[in-house]
Symmetry: C2
Subunit: 422 residues, 2 copies
């Protein structure tokens, strides 16, 4: 009451018993927006639901819109707003997120940083007594920083509003959803968490399909999809060219591409001719393009992907991003280089390789995604990611992300041509 | 020819054109075991198949058993043997591996190290002109260092021998296989790699089921399964107790458990009573057990999992292994601790947490698996893994690995009771 100005926002992190009177005081002061972090409402049963109803009445009395209760609020790195209890060191990003779990906001700060990604705005919606996940989705649809929207859902209350809102957004911004309330076990757990009533899996599956929302099968997949959908040009079709220097990684990637519903085109004569300069006879100029050992370690990251991105029968490039650092080190050792010389030379080679690939990535207008098996914390992988190139552990995750991209691109093309076709 | 003794093994890494004469010279010298790393045989087409036939005839003349050609040989850290071109820094482990891709041997050295795992022996079988994947599986079945066998398969030549050999091993040692030749795209890629002819996916699926082999859907999953199958006691049934301190991670884990075909039992009165000492009223004593904020940060890693591992209705514990390091840091900061004091104190708490969980893990005779969302390179996760506790990114991978364990345990119980039932 003594504050000289009326705050834009009140964040209530208080024992349950004084939340109501505090919100009332906020209303008297003239505050019209609040985040109620406190728990102890509908989710605990007993008097909880009645207490939550009182909270809503108090807010309505003063025209207060509020998020929560039982949430951790909002993280918006673009505006340096973070009401959660953990520091957000991730960069301002393009992924908008509305989540019925607060943990999935805070746990992703560090996770997204590793992908050189960040949230545009992330909402923990809690019990959704007032502002709900549909409102958040609507906000993210209009938010200029948000290129893709992710949703973590345990149960939707306003089904038809959800579908209507999503349908209006999807033509210009992709939406990805993870729904865990559908299985018998997920349903029980979700209910005890936020008190939301989950529906059968088929119902939600249908609702997502009807809205044009892409469904993810895990949180990892949700952010894989967001990464690629938000950062990639739209492919013209489902045809994937695979570049590897090893048979097993090639066969696995080919298998993953097929299982993800994508196609593996045959390369055109023009591309084969372009490749013949780089690929020794033990390699294959089929697709996957298996380069085995290329003569110049830079070709693999420059001339070869350039030729493959130019392939008229290919819509995307799936790239096995292993640089033979240990092989180069051995070769240099053989040439009697000192340890310092080797390290410096390898760093230079890797830097040139990354920059070559990044420059193709930025200029060719076709999606390019990398896969590796070792951790994303290897220096070379880190560099690729810092250049904005999505890089996944294993070709399965990469192929599924590309498949989501093709799916979205198709639905957009269908909208452009004739909405009734989709 | 000038060597004073007859070597046990010849490793041929030579231009294709001099491989034959060199193998002949090896035979003359009395060498009876060889690894032919050189490529340029059946896999390249043209004269390749005939050259490979000549290689087999030369070997047969001298009773030489050989691995390859077109392989990278063997890595056996127990005997410090590594014929591949990359150093193997992983520890001697319990995972036996036979692979139709050499990359999947060398790429896994570092990967397995991160899991505190290693190979017992890993074979790159190449073109399998003589020793094939069935021979390797037989070896690994008898190898005392091997607790679980992994297979990477693009195509099997000796189908009935494969089934017979696997069937003989599975009752005492689990086998996990990844097959990528089944999809149309995987088949084409595999053929150009080793020249092996792949069969329809259903055929291989049936063959695996008939043999009691557990099928993995990706390389990541193959090693997830091996990690858990080789390092865990056998569960008595499919009932999973989930411990979390957060609703979303609980609901996701519950959903993943259901989708993996496992069950979520209701806790017994005895366990609920034991838990009431630790769980505040905002948490739930359902399953998932949601502890939200426990009073003593050690309880979460000690008293609570102890009670849950004692649950008579539970066969396994799936554990959300997030330690609130940042929360502890904030609390300490609030108490005006210095940076050094905080770091020291947090390390002590984490160490105590890890040791408490590790001690339960080692003594309770029930499987315990952890999940997190952030990377495995976080200090706390690393410590858990160094204690031998399998820790996965996301509950989906953890649940699927537990499901593989239950599947194997069931097939063993069936064998114990009455072989005809399986």
């Amino acid at each position: 009451m003594d504050l000289p100005e009326v705050p834009d926002l009140a964040v209530l992190v208080l024992p349950t018993r004084i939340v109501l009177e505090t919100l009332d005081a906020c209303g008297q002061k003239g505050i019209r927006h609040a985040i109620v972090v406190s728990g102890g409402f509908k989710e605990v049963g007993g008097d909880g639901p009645e207490l939550e109803a009182q909270l809503k009445r108090t807010a309505a009395k003063y025209d207060i819109r509020f998020l929560g209760p039982n949430c951790i609020g909002v993280a918006n790195p673009h505006h340096k707003l973070n009401t959660t209890f953990l520091p957000d060191n991730s960069k301002p990003g393009y992924i908008g997120f509305a989540s019925q779990s607060g943990s999935f906001v805070t746990q992703m700060f560090g996770y997204l940083s590793e992908m050189n990604q960040g949230f545009s705005t992330a909402f923990s919606v809690g019990n959704e007594a007032d502002v709900d996940i549909v409102d958040c989705m609507e906000y993210l649809g209009a938010c200029p920083h948000t290129k893709v929207i992710g949703l973590y859902i345990e149960g939707i209350k306003r089904g038809s509003a959800f579908v209507r809102t999503a349908k209006a957004i999807v033509p210009y911004k992709p939406i990805v959803a993870l729904y865990v309330g559908g299985s018998e076990t997920g349903k029980r757990a979700g209910f005890s968490h936020t008190g939301a009533l989950a529906g059968p899996d088929e119902l939600y599956d249908g609702m997502f399909r009807q809205s044009g929302i892409i469904r993810a099968q895990s949180l990892t997949e949700l952010f894989d999809f967001c990464w690629v959908l938000g950062g990639m040009p739209r492919p013209k079709g489902p045809r994937v060219v695979i570049q590897t220097h090893s048979g097993g990684p090639g066969a696995s990637a080919a298998d993953a591409v097929g299982r993800a519903g994508l196609e593996l085109p045959t390369l055109s004569r023009e591309t084969e001719e372009k490749l013949s300069r780089f690929v020794p006879h033990t390699g294959s100029v089929g697709n996957p393009v298996d380069v085995t050992f290329s003569k110049n370690p830079l070709d693999y990251f420059n001339g070869i992907p350039e030729a493959l991105l130019g392939e008229k029968n290919g819509d995307m490039l799936l790239f096995y991003a292993l640089t033979p650092a240990q092989g180069i080190r051995r070769a240099l050792k053989f040439m009697k280089a000192t340890e310092d010389q080797m390290t410096e030379r390898i760093q230079k080679i890797m830097e040139a390789q990354c920059q070559a690939l990044a420059s193709l990535f930025n200029s060719r207008g076709k999606p390019l995604v990398c896969y590796v098996w070792r951790g994303l914390d290897e220096p070379f992988t880190k560099r690729l990611i810092s250049e904005g190139i999505p890089t996944f552990l294993g070709p399965e995750r990469a192929a599924r992300a590309l498949s989501a991209l093709v799916h979205y691109s198709r639905s957009q093309q269908a909208t452009d041509r004739d909405p009734s076709e989709d």
